[in-house]
């Protein structure tokens, strides 16, 4: 019996902090592993998500889809018009055929929890490390950090 030496668990499900939007036309169905989820079983008007293939807004009766997220802000428009923004590091968004949706994020923080000075200094550090990166994998890691920090700078500045 061989046990893998590293546990690459799909821990998105366990560590997720998940707002879960649903369409108003259906009973709200949401599966939220995190007890601190702010939108558990909430009806939403629209949720804007940044995905690997571009940012789009999920409306009620959106076609079923499964997308992986990019680090950027997710905007949730509630039925009463209140808009809430969360910066999500990465994760997935699933739109189901019954008009419910799950948004699973590895890290989802409201914008006031992020520190712009810290982001800028991390970004500069990443830029300087890029030239010293040895192989393609190390370069890719630094590039990912750079993109995540650049997204945070863009969001916090606006």
């Amino acid at each position: 019996m061989f046990l893998p030496s590293s546990l690459n668990l799909p821990h998105l499900l366990h560590q997720a902090q998940t707002p879960a939007p649903t369409a108003p036309t259906s009973p709200a169905l949401a599966r939220c592993p995190s007890p601190s989820s702010p939108f558990n079983k909430a009806n939403m008007k629209q949720v804007d998500v940044p995905t690997q293939s571009g940012a789009f807004g999920i409306l009620p009766a959106c076609i079923p889809t499964l997308q992986m997220l990019k680090p950027h802000v997710v905007t949730a428009h509630a039925e009463d018009g209140i808009t809430t923004k969360y910066f999500m590091s990465s994760g997935s968004v699933t739109m189901n055929a019954d008009f419910s949706a799950q948004l699973l994020a590895e890290e989802a923080k409201s914008l006031d929890m992020l520190d712009l000075v810290g982001v800028k200094s991390n970004l500069e550090k990443a830029h300087s490390e890029l030239s010293g990166a040895s192989d393609e994998a190390a370069q890719a890691r630094i590039q990912i950090q750079t993109e995540a920090n650049e997204a945070m700078v863009k969001v916090l500045k606006s």
Binding site: S90, D112, A140
Partner: protein
């Protein structure tokens, strides 16, 4: 179109971990303690020694 990180041999799980660490690093100090709990840095990974594997195989094959 293959993503540059996938071409470099990284999986989405690894991409996600790097992004999440980047976000955790930039949290304001009062929220950092909570984030450390979620980071998985408190998880210990133990590699099973080969002799133990063989012993287990022998036990089951009897």
């Amino acid at each position: 179109m293959v993503a540059y990180w996938r071409q470099a041999g990284l999986s989405y799980i690894q991409y996600s971990q790097i992004c999440a660490n980047a976000v955790r690093d930039t949290l304001n100090t009062e929220f950092k303690a909570n984030a450390e709990k979620a980071s998985g840095s408190s998880v210990k990974i133990v590699k099973v020694k080969k002799e133990l594997c063989n012993l287990t195989n022998a036990t089951f094959s009897r």
